[in-house]
Symmetry: C2
Subunit: 187 residues, 2 copies
DNA sequence: ATCAAGCTATACAGATTAGTATAATCAAAA
DNA sequence: TTTTGATTATACTAATCTGTATAGCTTGAT
C-alpha cells in the first residue's frame, strides 16, 4: 500500500482519538500528515470513508494482536479465558494505545442510520462474539451471558481510562473479570 | 425559572442525546423548541454554556432520583448497595431515559482542557464517590475498589445500551454487580 | 390608550467545513 | 531529452456554524 496513504490513515487515527472525530477537519489531517487535500481525496472517497477505514484498521490490529497473543501464550481453552484480561490490560496500558475507536465513534455518531455507527456496533458485536467463543470452548454454560458481562467491564474500563488518563480502571476490571469467570465456571 | 428557558434546556438535552452534541446546531435547537436564537442567547451565554447546563441538570436529576429511591425503599446500608442496580435498571429502561450525558460528552470532548470534558469527568467521579459511600456504610473493606468496579459495569452497560438499543445489557450488569458485591462483602 | 417587557423575524458577519478545479512541480522511466 | 504519473500549491464553491444587530410584534399593566 502507498506509504502516503498509510501516513494519512495513522495521522487521522491519532487526531480522531485525541481531538474527536467531528472536531477534526480534513485540513488539519493533511497538514499533520504533511500532504494536501488533493492526495487525501485521491485515496479516500470522502471523510466518512476515511473514518470507516480508520475504524476498520484499528479493530483489525487489535483483534489480530489479541488472538495472536492468546494462541501463542496459552494452551487450554480455560486458560485463554483466564488470561484474556491480562492481555487486554497489556494492550490498553501500552504507550501507543490510542483508545478503542468503535467506542468513541458510536458516541459521536449516535444515529443508527449512520454507516459509522453501524460499523461501530458491528465491531462491538464481533468482539463480544470472540469472547463468547472463548467461553464456549472453556465449557462455560452461559457463555453468551458471561461474554456480555466481560465486554461491559471492558468497555467501561476503556471509557474510564479515556475519561481520566491513568485511572487504573483496567486493573480493577481485571479483578472483577476473574471473579465473574470463576463464578460462571462452577455452574 | 422561565418556561422558555426550561423548554430550551429539555429540547437541547433530547437533541444532544439523539443527534450528538457537536452535530446539533443552535438553529436546530431553537427550531425544535419553537423559539429563536435571540431568546436562546438571552438565557445562555454561549452554546458551550448551554451544554454545561444540560449536563448539570441531567446529572442532578439522576442523582436526586436515585438517592430518593434508595432512601425511601431501603433501610439497612447493605440493602442499599444490593438494590442499587435494581433502581439503576429501572432508570435506564424507563421510557423517557435519554442516556447518561456525561458518558457521551466525554467522548465528544476528549481534550482535557475542555470545560465540557472537565465537568463530565467530575460527574463520573461524583457518581463513583456516591457508590463508594454506600459501600463504605455497608462495611465493605475495599469500598473504593468495589465502587470502581460497579461504575465500570454501569458505564459499560449504558454504553452498550446506547450502541444497540434494547440489548438487555443492564440485566446482565445487574447480575454481575450482585456477584461482585457478595464477593466483596465476605472479605 | 399608552407604555414597557419579552419575544419574534430576519438579515447579517465572520469563521470553518467538505470537496473540487486548475495549474505548477518533481522524479523517474523511456 | 522527453514523457508520464504522482504530488503539491492555491484558489474556489457552497454549505454550515456560532453569535449579533436591527426592527417589529404581542401582551399585560398602569
Amino acid at each position: 500500500m502507498s506509504p502516503l496513504r498509510e501516513k494519512i490513515l495513522s495521522t487521522a487515527s491519532h487526531l480522531f482519538q485525541t481531538q474527536g472525530i467531528n472536531s477534526t477537519g480534513v485540513d488539519t489531517i493533511v497538514a499533520a500528515a504533511g500532504t494536501t487535500k488533493m492526495t487525501l481525496y485521491k485515496y479516500f472517497r470522502s471523510k466518512e470513508n476515511l473514518i470507516l477505514e480508520v475504524l476498520e484498521q484499528g479493530h483489525q490490529d487489535f483483534q489480530a494482536w489479541l488472538s495472536e497473543k492468546l494462541n501463542s501464550n496459552t494452551n487450554k481453552p480455560s486458560e485463554k479465558l483466564q488470561k484474556l484480561f491480562d492481555f487486554i490490560e497489556e494492550w490498553v496500558t501500552s504507550p501507543n494505545f490510542r483508545g478503542m475507536g468503535f467506542i468513541k465513534a458510536s458516541a459521536e455518531f449516535p444515529s443508527e442510520a449512520s454507516p459509522v455507527h453501524q460499523l461501530s456496533s458491528e465491531q462491538s458485536r464481533q468482539f463480544k462474539q470472540y469472547i463468547s467463543s472463548l467461553a464456549h470452548e472453556a465449557n462455560i454454560q452461559d457463555a453468551d451471558g458471561l461474554a456480555l458481562q466481560l465486554s461491559l467491564l471492558f468497555e467501561g474500563a476503556v471509557q474510564a481510562e479515556q475519561m481520566i488518563r491513568g485511572s487504573g480502571a483496567m486493573a480493577y476490571a481485571k479483578k472483577a473479570a476473574k471473579i465473574l469467570i470463576n463464578g460462571a465456571a462452577t455452574h
